[in-house]
């Protein structure tokens, strides 16, 4: 009998798992993919929003600001990349300047510190390459950027170290209500549990509807992105938003924590829950709109494009929804007609920012429900994989002398060594796919996009996992790289 089953190993599920692991609790995270961070958490802007967007008084507003305040300390505690670079909301029309003022007032109501409105001159001083049409901006010094993979993986590893179980390749197929709790069915096994936390991202509606009569519908809102070479990373210093439009925050341009330039996202409601394909129109739209924010975006420096799906709730037959109160807000709480079943649904932007706060908020809820006690020993700190590319020559030398595998460069673009790749495999919840290696070490994330390192990463994975190379996957079960020997493929 489990105390808690968490469905979904995205950033919300992992944050909740980590916070719950402070308590004496038997918990398991069920994830249908082969790794953590395989859904929306891997394909988003990587932004820590300051918190001026959400409606004051909403859960979004509260958790956003709380999450944003916690993120810096958490990044030190769990060792993931974070940088407070500040954000700017650009205004391109003199007549719209009052909208910046509105945002500022809203932000202040939400408790965002240090907001101020910049004139064109002040703006250019802060952001030298800003588009010529930008007439003013709202500056939020607490705006920041974070590695979304680093954050999610760190939370998950720390949860695992503190005793939370993780089951991958385990898709929930049904949930039965029982006398004191739930029976969660998967293809592999059934899980009896006192409580369920539904953190299933774009599929949270399907999980919710398994237990509740108050039906929910999530319509994925696709966001496409373009990622540029680190050469272009300096074109934007701050995270540059454009004044919001009806469909969201518009196109942003931001440096990433690793020094690339990221443009996007678009916003398009789609029916398919796995429609993460990019489109010609979407990518063209990004370039066109981003050109307003920054000048001289070099076309040839694009290294990849991708799309993520925001979990946007389009219908939820509950009380608050009828008064319009909860519209557009996160839905976090016990489902009224399903005691012990907690929804963490509609976690669209600023979900990544809010994750640390969502973790605490939901863990506290479960603590109340089950009367959990704190553990005597909780390991709060986690040390990440050393990143050879970021170390000094002395530190590199010391590491190579300790373990020569750190001297063997596998990914030349991002300078990732065999030692780091082996670490990524051997850690708690270690990588089993090349995407898992990529998100833990950045091997294959650089300008050649794994052209050189792919065969070697596949070889190392096979060796360390004791598998045939033909058994190594990119991410999903069918994402093979090379044919099995029996087909005469492996010669």
């Amino acid at each position: 009998m489990y105390d808690v089953v968490i469905i979904g190993a995205g950033v919300s599920g992992c944050a909740i798992a980590r916070e719950l692991s402070r308590y004496e609790v038997k918990a398991v995270v069920l994830e249908k993919a082969l790794d953590v961070c395989e859904g929306t958490s891997k394909a988003n802007s990587g932004i820590v929003h300051a918190g001026y967007d959400a409606r004051p008084g909403s859960l979004k507003a509260r958790l956003n600001v709380e999450g944003s305040r916690k993120m810096a300390a958490l990044s030190r505690e769990l060792d993931f990349p974070y940088k407070q670079n500040g954000s700017l909301v650009l205004c391109f029309d003199e007549k719209e300047k009052d909208k910046l003022e509105e945002l500022k007032i809203r932000g202040e109501a939400n408790g965002v510190d240090g907001l101020c409105i910049l004139s064109r001159e002040q703006l250019v001083e802060k952001e030298p390459n800003v588009g010529e049409g930008a007439v003013a901006a709202l500056y939020a010094p607490s705006g920041a950027i974070v590695c979304p993979f680093g954050l999610t993986i760190a939370l998950a590893e720390n949860a695992a170290v503190n005793g939370v179980e993780f089951e991958f390749g385990t898709e929930v197929s049904g949930i039965e209500s029982q006398e004191c709790g739930y029976l969660v069915h998967t293809q592999k096994a059934d899980y009896e549990t006192r409580t369920v936390i539904n953190a299933a991202g774009v599929r949270a509606d399907e999980i919710h509807n398994m237990v509740s009569h108050m039906k929910m519908k999530i319509t994925p809102r696709k966001g496409e992105y373009l990622l540029y070479d680190k050469k272009a990373g300096g074109l934007a210093v701050h995270t540059l938003f454009q004044l919001p439009t009806a469909l969201g925050k518009g196109i942003l341009a931001t440096p990433t924590v690793h020094g690339n330039l990221l443009l996007g996202p678009t916003a398009q409601d789609i029916p398919e829950k796995d429609g993460t394909d990019t489109s010609r129109e979407g990518l063209e739209q990004i370039v066109e709109k981003a050109a307003l924010s920054i000048r001289h975006i070099p076309k040839k420096d694009v290294i990849t494009s991708f799309a993520g799906l925001r979990a946007h709730i389009t219908a939820y037959a509950c009380e608050q929804e009828k008064d319009g109160g909860a519209k557009g807000d996160f839905v976090i709480g016990e489902v009224p007609d399903a005691p012990g079943f907690i929804d963490v649904a509609g976690i669209e932007s600023p979900g990544l920012t809010s994750a640390p706060a969502i973790g605490e908020y939901v863990a506290d809820m479960v603590k109340q429900l089950l009367g959990l006690r704190e553990k005597a020993v909780f390991t709060s700190r986690r040390k990440g994989i050393p990143s050879m590319s970021l170390l000094s020559d002395e530190e590199r030398h010391r590491l190579i002398k300790e373990n020569p595998a750190y001297g063997n460069v596998i990914c030349r673009c991002e300078m990732v060594t065999e030692g780091e790749i082996i670490d990524a495999i051997k850690r708690p919840l270690g990588a089993v796919t090349t995407d898992g290696i990529k998100r833990r070490t950045r091997a294959g994330m650089g300008r050649c996009q794994s052209g050189f390192c792919n065969p070697r990463v596949v070889e190392i994975l096979a060796r360390e996992l004791g598998r045939e190379e033909s058994g190594i996957r990119k991410s999903g079960e069918d994402s093979w790289y090379i044919l099995p020997s029996k087909e005469g493929g492996s010669l």
Binding site: L227, D274, T276, D277, T278, S279, R280, G282, L283, K300, V302, I303, T304, S305, F306, D393, E394, R396, H397, R398, I400, K401, P404, A405, G407, N408, V409, R412, C413, M415, R447, C448, Q449, S450, G451, F452, N454, P455, E459, E469, S470, R473, K474, S475, G476, E477, D478, S479, W480, Y481, I482, L483, E487, G488, G489, S490, L491
Partner: protein, 472 residues
């Protein structure tokens, strides 16, 4: 700190030639830094022939070409550090190279001069902005080439190749010989970027269609590639609506251009040339940073390795001169002569019965072979004897050389590159490949070893074109 007269960054064809040339000029203390496990660079995966016509006056495979240079490096006892990555280079007097490997950790070498010979990399999918999903099964042609020719692994069954540069054409044939089905080669330009002879011997020979003015406009499949949409493009290279065609495949190979790999050059502060993608150099192939020279594909992308070697030979000599005689006035920038981009469109209206494209060398002459009344052939259009010989044989009994790999037991690697010792009848290619694919040989294998004595009853042996030492 270690010291050397000359440090060469990269042990491919450019680096080896530069080192040899400097050695010949009297530089004794040379060190080559190579990031891979062998010298030879990308030539080690180029098991096809067509190399060395200028440098050695004979047709070699890439691996044989590399082996000749490696032998010379060994003979001159020029030291090299393998599996060693140069991470930083600073110019001046002296230059300082920072590098790392497993054995020595981080180390620095003080050098009187440095030659950059890092080569180039392939343009990835992202740089082409092909929309769609991001499944496994999208490889740059060079990655697939490494999988097949070095790792001995097949990366797919049904293949579409985007881009008709030589690597794309070569890989279309390579995948076919190894048992895959290549559905088409799509090329966005109205002409191919590859050599005519490669279109003939890599595509035409195997009935692989070349679709000019076509490109991949969408990639399908979430886990593994399940197909691609191929569309025709207009004169502005924009896809023409309504021309989309779905092509089922599990693999997309990209052969869409090469980019000089200049991160070290930029780190050293070398001035860069937007046209070549490489560093700015003067007539002595010296970059704008004192003591640093550049040659090969890091300087600009070359069409033939023979030209890389020639340029590198000069760079090595200039570096030697600099070491021996000191700094000269930098002078002015000289852009290396970039070969005019091959715009290869095979004459579409050629009479296939009598007009041939010669595959004897990269020139790809259009030859006419007319049957005379007395039964003899009148050959015109050829520019050398090779063309005449080719046309005669092609009209009567066409022959081809076959290059591939053979499995090795107990070797360092899984496979060794091979070729037929001479050409075999075209009709025997598939029988020959069947024998080659079934064969397993025992390590060690030495270049030139006969591995199959009489392949497919042609009386022609299959010989090793590379070495494969025995695993201790």
């Amino acid at each position: 700190m270690k010291k050397a007269d000359l440090v060469v960054i990269g042990g491919g064809p450019a680096g080896m030639a530069a080192a040899l040339s400097a050695c010949e000029k009297g530089i004794k203390d040379i060190l080559i830094l190579e990031r891979d496990r062998d010298l030879g660079g990308i030539l080690n995966q180029c098991i096809h022939n067509g190399f060395g016509l200028h440098a050695f006056k004979e047709e070699l495979t890439g691996t044989e070409y590399a082996a000749r240079y490696i032998d010379m490096i060994m003979e001159k006892r020029i030291p090299s550090l393998l599996n060693t990555m140069a991470v930083d280079v600073q110019g001046g007097s002296p230059c300082v190279v920072t590098a790392m490997n497993k054995e020595q950790g981080m180390f620095q070498v003080e050098a009187k001069a440095v030659v950059f010979a890092m080569g180039c990399r392939e343009r990835p999918r992202g740089a082409m902005n092909i929309p769609g999903f991001r499944p496994a099964g999208i490889f740059s042609a060079g990655t697939a080439q490494r999988y097949v020719n070095i790792e001995g692994r097949m990366p797919g069954r049904e293949v579409v190749v985007l881009g008709s540069g030589d690597i794309g054409l070569i890989m279309a044939r390579r995948m076919t010989l190894q048992g895959a089905r290549v559905k088409m080669v799509a090329e966005i330009m109205p002409y191919s970027g590859g050599l005519k002879r490669n279109i003939v011997q890599c595509l035409d020979d195997f009935g692989i269609p070349l679709k000019l003015s076509h490109t991949v406009t969408e990639i399908h499949g979430k886990d593994r590639v399940e197909g691609v949409t191929v569309s025709r493009v207009d004169e502005n290279l924009n896809p023409v609506p309504g021309s989309e065609e779905f092509v089922k495949c599990d693999t997309l190979l990209l052969s869409c251009g090469l980019i000089p790999e200049n991160e070290l050059s930029q780190g050293a502060g070398a001035g860069m040339d937007d046209v070549t993608g490489g560093p700015v150099v003067n007539e002595r192939l010296e970059t704008t940073v004192q003591g640093i020279f550049a040659c090969g594909n890091v300087l600009h992308v070359h069409d033939l390795v023979d030209n890389v070697s020639r340029e590198a030979w000069q760079a090595g000599a200039f570096a030697a001169d600099y070491i021996l005689n000191g700094k000269e006035d930098w002078g002015e920038a000289v852009r290396p002569k970039i070969p005019a981009k091959t715009k290869c469109t095979l004459p579409g209206d050629r009479d296939l019965a009598s007009q041939l494209i010669c595959i004897g060398c990269p020139a790809g002459c259009l030859i006419t072979a007319e049957k005379m009344e007395d039964g003899s052939l009148l050959i015109t259009g050829n520019t050398c004897q090779k063309g005449e010989d080719y046309a005669r044989s092609e009209m009567t009994a066409p022959v081809r050389g076959v290059t591939s790999i053979i499995r090795v037991k107990d070797g360092w690697g899984r496979v060794v590159p091979v070729k037929t010792a001479s050409e075999i009848p075209k009709g025997k290619i598939s029988a020959c490949m069947e024998e080659i694919r079934a064969a397993v040989v025992q390590a060690p294998v030495k270049i030139g070893d006969i591995l199959i004595e009489n392949v497919a009853g042609t009386l022609v042996p299959v010989i090793a074109t590379g070495n494969m030492p025995r695993k201790p």
